[in-house]
Symmetry: C2
Subunit: 635 residues, 2 copies
Amino acid sequence: MEKKKVRVTFQPSGKRVKVDKDTTLLEAGTQAGVYISSICGGDGICGKCRLIIKKGNIKANPTTLLSREEIRKGYVLACQTTAEGDLEVEVPAESRAEKEKILVDKDAQRFRALYPQAEEKTFFKYDPLVQKLYLELPKTTLQDNLADHLRFYREIRRKRKIPIMQSGLKVLRILPKILRESKGKVTATIGIRGETTEVIQIEKGDTTEESYGLAVDVGTCTVVAHLVNLNNSETIDAEATYNSQRVYGEEVTRRIIYAELKGPDKLREAIVNDINNLISTLISRNKIKLNDVMTLVCAGNTTMVHLLLGLDPSQIRREPYIPACTSPPPIRAAEVGIKINPRGLLYTLPSISGWVGGDITAGILATGINEVKSLTMLIDIGTNGEIVLGSKEWMVCCAASAGPAFEGSGVKHGMRAAAGAIEKVETLADGKVKYSTIGGVKPKGICGSGLIDVMAELFKAGFINRSAKLSPEASSRIREKNGELEFILVPASETQIGEAIVLTRADIENLIRAKAAIFAGADILVKSMDLELEEIEQLYLAGGFGNYLNKEKALVLGLIPDISPDKVQFVGNTSIMGAKMALLSREALERSYEITKKITYYDLITNPGYMDEFISAKFIPHTDLAKFPSLAKKL
Amino acid sequence: MEKKKVRVTFQPSGKRVKVDKDTTLLEAGTQAGVYISSICGGDGICGKCRLIIKKGNIKANPTTLLSREEIRKGYVLACQTTAEGDLEVEVPAESRAEKEKILVDKDAQRFRALYPQAEEKTFFKYDPLVQKLYLELPKTTLQDNLADHLRFYREIRRKRKIPIMQSGLKVLRILPKILRESKGKVTATIGIRGETTEVIQIEKGDTTEESYGLAVDVGTCTVVAHLVNLNNSETIDAEATYNSQRVYGEEVTRRIIYAELKGPDKLREAIVNDINNLISTLISRNKIKLNDVMTLVCAGNTTMVHLLLGLDPSQIRREPYIPACTSPPPIRAAEVGIKINPRGLLYTLPSISGWVGGDITAGILATGINEVKSLTMLIDIGTNGEIVLGSKEWMVCCAASAGPAFEGSGVKHGMRAAAGAIEKVETLADGKVKYSTIGGVKPKGICGSGLIDVMAELFKAGFINRSAKLSPEASSRIREKNGELEFILVPASETQIGEAIVLTRADIENLIRAKAAIFAGADILVKSMDLELEEIEQLYLAGGFGNYLNKEKALVLGLIPDISPDKVQFVGNTSIMGAKMALLSREALERSYEITKKITYYDLITNPGYMDEFISAKFIPHTDLAKFPSLAKKL
């Protein structure tokens, strides 16, 4: 019997889709190209995928995540609802996962936001992983009658010291014709493949002017790509998008479970599609031919890299957390479906362990921890919080399962660093609220840097106490709604979304848990080396926060250890920065392998002291004020 | 307008095909799977593709290659004839190119015939290019939490010293599942890829018992394959077939021209199909699974290797004779269409130049010229005659365009070393003719060793003189037919083919030309090193002659230099022997590369003295008897 089809129309976009009657509205949204927020991947747990039914009948599983009032207004959870007949639904602003650009196009702000904040280190020799060489081969004679293949290699070796070279049949097959038609004047594109160098392309004449590559940060939430001119190492343009795998689960673990149950193909297709869209936007905007893009270097956490390459991530979530592969070989990008030159190469930066990935290796490369004498810490706040401690002598690292609160997930009005996000809050004192949004538009939500500010200001204003409890008597902007306290950051009249932007008790708890997980991780890591937090000489704070992160407020919150602010530096997205360094320097790629061999992974989950530290860190700034001496004085 | 179709039936096989009206009967035969002899590849020059029209009307180009009598009997040249309507034709025995096995199955004789005659050299360490390793990986723990990929490599490195390893995504993708389902007990198949070693397969449990490889001699005329057990280096079985590329031209140059005009695909498909058929026969006869055949090593002349890999051979026939590639990399056999394990590897032995190929590199490897102190010569008689001279100190080589006469082509009743071939002729003295055939059956034709014997015996009996002219008065078995003299070797009553087996004046001229080309090449090569022929301390005579080659008769004919017979050794098919050595030893493969770097190619075509030497060598044994002192005494 054929399944009954129903038509679902999503407002305000008006997008339509015809689906089987028992398809969830979340899945229908995916099929229609309407992205609906979801953290839990469709299990009815997160309550993010709220829709409003406008017309038509539905069937919905009961849920405690919607209030009676909301239900009366027609709210449903998309993942728990199917259509009984044709349907018209509205996707309210808070549920709209942004498929569109994260920051407004042509916006200098945007462009800067995608950039690393740290200065690019220049200690690596310029030597792109893939590069073009113009060659002029001498005429063949009876005395110089080497085969085309070896004559071609000989000429390359006159320009570059390459002991081991290889080429596929495709290049060898066209070699005689190209060499003769061009009278020996050709351009070879060579690429590093482990210990060997592959000639991946031969073209007639001199095409060296057109040589491009991409650095890509494959984040759990966001995918960022930089287009680089390989001739002068200039970054031409940047673009970002959300990782559309999140319909299969916002958290890494959820995606691993999905891959285990349903196979890794859909997840691979989702991320490959995202990267292809970014490439397509970048090359058309800059009038570059796809064929002249010869390579991309990706940095991502271990699971993201597994999913990109179609590797089996299932053991990463089980003790002892074994990845399939921490150092995937360079492959042809086309092998996973990425559309650049069909012979182009895809590199992934090596991971350190199942829970500390190539994005952190990139961060170490970008900040140069492995090169310095002083004790340095890197905290990268993303969907998880990874912490690296060390110097050129030794390095240790750990991953704190902070959750994605600081990326705006798991927070009612949380959002990514995109236009309309509150990125900065200067004061919350009654009557003096002062905030600013990305793009200067009306607010839609709060991004990571804004959340850190809000939390610190709530505390400074006395609206929350050291245990992060809201005090209803402290401000008229603290109200009870559906039996829960919340703080009104922006009244409904001032927002884009037709309702107030608030921070709920649950949001505050999530944020406190996240900061506690990160601080506890940093603390345990320092202790594990018999050191004290105050001995840290340099602290790098990394993450996709956009343009701005207020380190003083991060300290007030107890997110980072109490050291002198001049020792703290916000470095932005170090993942893409490291990827770009590798793209432009073979030495940097080799260094990234050395880093993963040199560093020791420290497992927090099995550390018996971690849970105590975590609980102690759930205060502002901490239960033990001795850990925050500079703050203790002020309190 | 659609082309008119006609039906052509080939007798005695009864095979039928429907073709466009303007298709030549040669092409129709190819399409029907009926193999018709052809040397010139369809240019109407060789006169080998004779058919007899039984029923139906034809249109034929005029030819001087058929006598009036033959035309009256219905003979046509298949390549010069098209059908006007439905047709029935007979393929006479002399035109039948043998698609069937070259030697009778289950025939010890046959099996021996495919084998090299020289003893296998054992100076290489047993270390197959592709081999299986059984591994037991220790249990993963938090302390030993290396990624599957590196743990797997670590275990391989505990068994083998392998600095650089690689594996494709296919292996990495299944690794976690296989390791866990087999509790770490797995078999890895590793293969050499240039300077790196690839893990090409991982299987559950211990499968090391089943590990096979193939050595293949890709000859211009004949393709020979040996099936080898890689566990004990034992040759299990052998099989041979004709190279079905010969419908596109018997000679190498013809095939290059065909590839230039029509592209290399058909030629590649033809040889790949031949090799697949050999593999299929060998594995089904020996009850081996295709998946357990992990590799094949091919040796062939430079053009055959180009055509096998789909490389462009067009420059090989033009001065300065530049091949696309003399040292093709190992590739996945599936890349060219060869059906073994889909991840299995195909190796080709490196060539020395455009006209001295990997079959000769194999010959040097097999005879060990590059390892000995004494001055050694190798003459390999195939479709061309290649000559190597040297020792461990130095080596030179050249190629004499002898033509395929000694392989039985270009000789009216010539045939390959197959059942029914006259392989030995002891005397031709009138009344005392004594010959023997392969398989002891009635004769069908004469193979290479038989042709050498016949020529020598014709001379010894006084039926031909020193300039190889038949003397009609010397024997009643010399007759004139169609205005040309011929010698009746076997009367019609004693043959399988319903007519006498003869050697015509043209045949004798072809054979003399072939021997003269080879001898002149050897002579020039020796002179080029300021040496004399009598200084040769060891002479190896190689070729697909089957079981037998009478070196004294080769000397009488002047095919080989006049040195003591105890210094001459018939070594059979050294091409397959060298291929097998490489299959079984990485060291041997590496040595083959060293050989090609060490040896100097000497071009005969542009040597100003070569033509004079060639003309002088067209006498029996030679114009200059001083070059054959031992024969001069007897004459």
